[in-house]
Amino acid sequence: MSAAALIELSAAAAAQRVRAGELDPGELFGAYRERAAADPLNAFLWLADSPEPQAGAGAPLAGVPLAVKDLFCVRDVPSQSASRILEGYRPPYTATVVARLQEAGAPLLGKTNQDEFAMGSSNENSAFGAVRNPWDPTRVPGGSSGGSAAAVAAGLAPWAIGTDTGGSIRQPAALCGVVGLKPTYGACSRYGMIAFASSLDQAGPITRDVTDAALLLRHMVGRDARDCTSVAFPEEIRLPARDDLRGVRLGVPEELVGADSGVEAGVRERFEQTLALARELGASVSPCRLPHAPHALSAYYLIAPAEASANLARFDGVRYGLRVDGEGDLLEMYCRTRAAGFGPEVKRRIMLGTHALSSGYYDAYYATAQKVRTKISQDFRAAFAEFDFIATPTSPWVAFELGAKTADPLAMYLNDFCTVPMSLAGIPAISIPCGLSGGLPVGFQLAGPAFCENRLLEAAFALERGIRFDGSAARAAPGGGDGQR
């Protein structure tokens, strides 16, 4: 089989061929390793030289190599969350979800670029430079898991994992034309994930199709004694097979999709088209209400930075990573090291979070945001009494030009308008590609109640079969046109 033909196989199809003895996993690893080494998108920060010996045909994931977002700690492998402050850090342990996937037979292909500490929606905040969108290298891939999404879309990796705090799996998946699933909070262990906002962070798959997402997720979920917020997933994750949506009730929230929501015309068109397809497949589609959803962005951008300001206090130049030596005492060393090690967006969020938690402002900001979070969860609970899933565009717009939003933090935060409500409620949501607008992918988001991942994957699979999205253009020419940058 030629390398070009290998790259066109989905991860599940490749695994099946390995298990049938028709494909050598070493050959598969080599084909992707070669493409990733020629990465024209700045999607990778580190590559493995060879697959670990234990991965092979006997394991469920059959040696299909995996790209892993930089913030997952992997033993003896650089893991910096794309930050200068973790310069030189080689963790002494491996994140639980990575270890589980390795045990299931997916060898590590490489570590992918991201926004520093997962703070960003364009992957322009990486200490290692921006990632480019394989559909148009002058545009962003989305963020913060931009490297993982770009790598999968460009066929530099068969599949990848990312993390989602307010949309960081779903939004880059949408902008790159791939599938991204944020699981229910607690479904996957956070042990070994370099923390951003602990009450929101979740790991999840970024894949070429819904079946691959289900297969990867199956081997990620489960209780882990090392993360006391993780829970036993109530059932095995199944590979989806459904081809209709009969009896499925979709709610479309006016607050996120209505005329005031800022969803651009081309995205709206693809979204409406997908809703029409859902009806053809037997679903009912009706408007629904999430009255507090427009306030989710404010609540999120207070809660997440507040938690980040506490989590990032550990980076002080003492135990690992960067230290900037100089005159003065311990406190001066802390301040100097943190000033040099953190990028502008991380500093902004540390400042925002520290202010929101500081004496005199705590009630007005942090405590109020936590109450809004309760109202948002209640809104979803009420909606799910009438609907099986909530449907929205994943991102209000398609991939934008590099640099277009970097000067205005608030404009950048608005990328997450349709994804943060689900994060605050801790519920699962998936983004699938639903077509192109001006030659760029559009994402369709479905969200359901906690632990409904199997039903969510079934519905997304039925839609995927109807949409028949063709992502091969991004794999044919990663970096655009001639494959050069």
Binding site: G88, P91, P92, Y93, T184, Y185, S199, C228, T229, V231, H292, H295, S298, A299, Y301, L302, G317, V318, R319, Y320, G321, L322, R323, D325, G326, E327, G328, D329, L330, L331, E332, M333, C335, R338, F342, K347, R348, I350, M351, L352, T354, H355, S358, A364, A367, T368, A369, Q370, K371, V372, R373, T374, K375, S377, P409, L410, Y413, L424, A425, A450
Partner: protein
Amino acid sequence: MLDRAQVLHVARLARLRLDDDEVERMAAELSAVLDHFEKIQQLRLDDVEPTSHVVEVSGALRPDEPEPSLPVDVALRSAPDPVQGGFGVPSPGAAPA
């Protein structure tokens, strides 16, 4: 609205040294963001319980069984200044720069 003095106060709490340009920029950017967030303070939330954790978890406690921890040399491997089996730091009482 955050003024210069407030930005410097927060930066001190956050253990961040900001140069003059950063202080100015931070004051403007944080003020714009916080102004936008003010809207949530108009919501009626008096009887609403705050949410700090979204998924019901019970029985998260485990028996406290001693296990081997990381060997000291492994724990110190990424440290910028390992000293005598510990983390070396400048004296907290050193003369200011």
